[in-house]
């Protein structure tokens, strides 16, 4: 008995195509008040083209989950400057050139939820993995654990941290395919894989879209099940 059916196989190929024509199309349905994860640590892994598209798209009252709170005048800093962000959940907002966030924060125009970096990553991972919360030693006995449940487990003190879900995740990868499989480049991987798993709709900006099968299955970092949209946008920084 022959299991493969070339006609059905062809139909299947036509059904799954997560690639988008443009960054504008990729972010078109981000709604007012949405929670949006943005990947990147410094400029590595920062989905700059998707952030620019989000600024142009106009959605406001956003809750942003990102390690940093923008630097300079571009990218996330520009989104903040445009007044689109109600709240930011991050680990390290203060940087030498984070003046846009700093001014908004001091003026009381943006809410800040500070999370230790590893807790931030694990909260995102927990959401993607269906975990309802976890006890972590990080932050125990500090200001960032105030008001949170604690527990002593086998002689060590832990703090209960909650999962972080999002409506959208904007991430940057190196290569993708039309099924949404992704590989990253060097330290640009950072939050991409966990954010992809934690958002209802993950949009990946990639340098290259390859033919299905061109990515080595042993080397795929984010399997396509976690990715809804792939948009090619050759970044200017990876010369």
């Amino acid at each position: 008995m022959r299991l493969s059916n070339s006609v059905n196989h062809q139909a299947f190929i036509d059904v799954i195509n997560k690639t988008c024509e443009s960054t504008e199309a990729a972010v078109a349905d981000v709604h007012h008040g949405a929670t949006v994860m943005i990947g990147g640590f410094g400029n590595a892994g920062m989905p700059s083209a998707l952030i620019d598209a989000l600024i142009a798209q106009g959605a406001g009252e956003l809750t942003i989950i990102c390690n940093n709170a923008g630097s300079g005048e571009t990218g996330l800093a520009a989104l903040l400057k445009a007044g689109r962000v109600r709240k930011i959940i991050c680990s390290f907002p203060r940087q030498s050139d984070s003046h846009i966030f700093d001014a908004l924060y001091r003026a009381g125009k943006i809410e800040l939820e500070l999370s230790p970096q590893g807790n931030l990553a694990e909260r995102i991972r927990a959401a993607g993995a269906g975990i309802g919360g976890f006890f972590t030693p990080t932050g125990y006995g500090t200001l960032l654990a105030q008001g949170k449940e604690t527990r002593c487990i086998e002689g060590r003190n832990y703090v209960l941290e909650s999962p972080l879900h999002a409506d959208f995740a904007l991430i940057k990868a190196y290569q993708g395919d039309r099924w949404g499989n992704l590989v990253y480049r060097k330290a640009g991987r950072n939050f991409g894989p966990v954010m992809a798993s934690a958002a209802a709709c993950t949009i990946a900006q990639v340098d290259e879209v390859l033919e299905l099968g061109a990515l080595d299955p042993e080397a795929i970092v984010t399997p396509g099940i976690f990715v809804q949209r792939v948009v090619r946008e050759k970044s200017t920084c990876n010369a």
Binding site: F41, G42, E122, T138, Y140, L143, K186, N190, G192
Partner: protein, 215 residues
């Protein structure tokens, strides 16, 4: 007395990092330790943003924006190095897989409480990054700091005045004046800089010290 310079402090810490160790060097003063690691030892540096086997800064013109350290400066990857995502990277810390991390500090208390992330001043913007994860995660936490503030106050204190990064997490303190171990009995002075007596160090430190000085 001959206080250690910052480079001498870094060289002193580097001497205590053994062959085969997985090590995270924090931002600031601890980063200097990387310049003093013995070339004949294989020591694997971890960078919180997702690198093991981090190498030195690249030659001018060879910088890659996707290859940076926790301080967002360009670095290289050594042969045998690896990239991984943030949850894995912090799992390496929290899970106790790193042998040593070296952190800067505002203050350390006699029981090893660490304050290094926030001044707590009303107009300061809090930013924690990976400081709290590093403080609780590594098998050994080394602190590297000047012994005294510019005003001459001891940075080794009975109770930290700044908001804590971690509770009873520091194992060893390297200053420009001394090397001290945090123990259940109290702070044990292991080394002291040239020309400074234990009694003088005790007076400058303002907290009870125990002496077990090795020349």
């Amino acid at each position: 007395m001959q206080r250690l310079t910052r480079e001498q402090m870094a060289a002193r810490v580097a001497r205590d990092i053994p062959e085969g160790a997985y090590v995270n060097l924090g931002i600031g003063l601890p980063t200097l330790v990387g310049n003093h690691l013995p070339k004949d030892r294989e020591i694997i540096l971890h960078s919180e943003n997702g690198l093991l086997g981090m190498g030195p800064a690249p030659a001018p013109g060879q910088e890659d924006e996707d290859l940076i350290n926790a301080g967002k400066q360009p670095v290289t990857l050594l042969t045998g190095g690896a990239y991984f995502h943030h949850a894995d990277s912090f799992g390496m810390m929290r899970g106790g897989h790193l042998d040593i991390c070296v952190l800067g500090a505002f203050q350390v208390s006699v029981r090893g409480d660490l304050a290094n992330w926030h001044t707590g001043l009303p107009d300061s913007i809090p930013a924690v990054g990976g400081a709290m994860d590093l403080a609780v995660g590594a098998k050994q936490v080394f602190v590297m700091m000047e012994h005294l503030t510019r005003e001459g106050a001891s940075k080794i204190v009975a109770e930290c005045a700044y908001p804590l990064t971690g509770v009873a997490c520091v194992d060893r303190i390297y200053t420009d004046l001394a090397v001290l171990d945090v123990s259940a009995e109290g702070l044990i002075v292991r080394e002291i800089c040239e020309g400074l007596s234990f009694d003088e160090l005790q007076k400058l430190s303002g907290v009870p010290l125990l002496s077990n000085i090795q020349k």
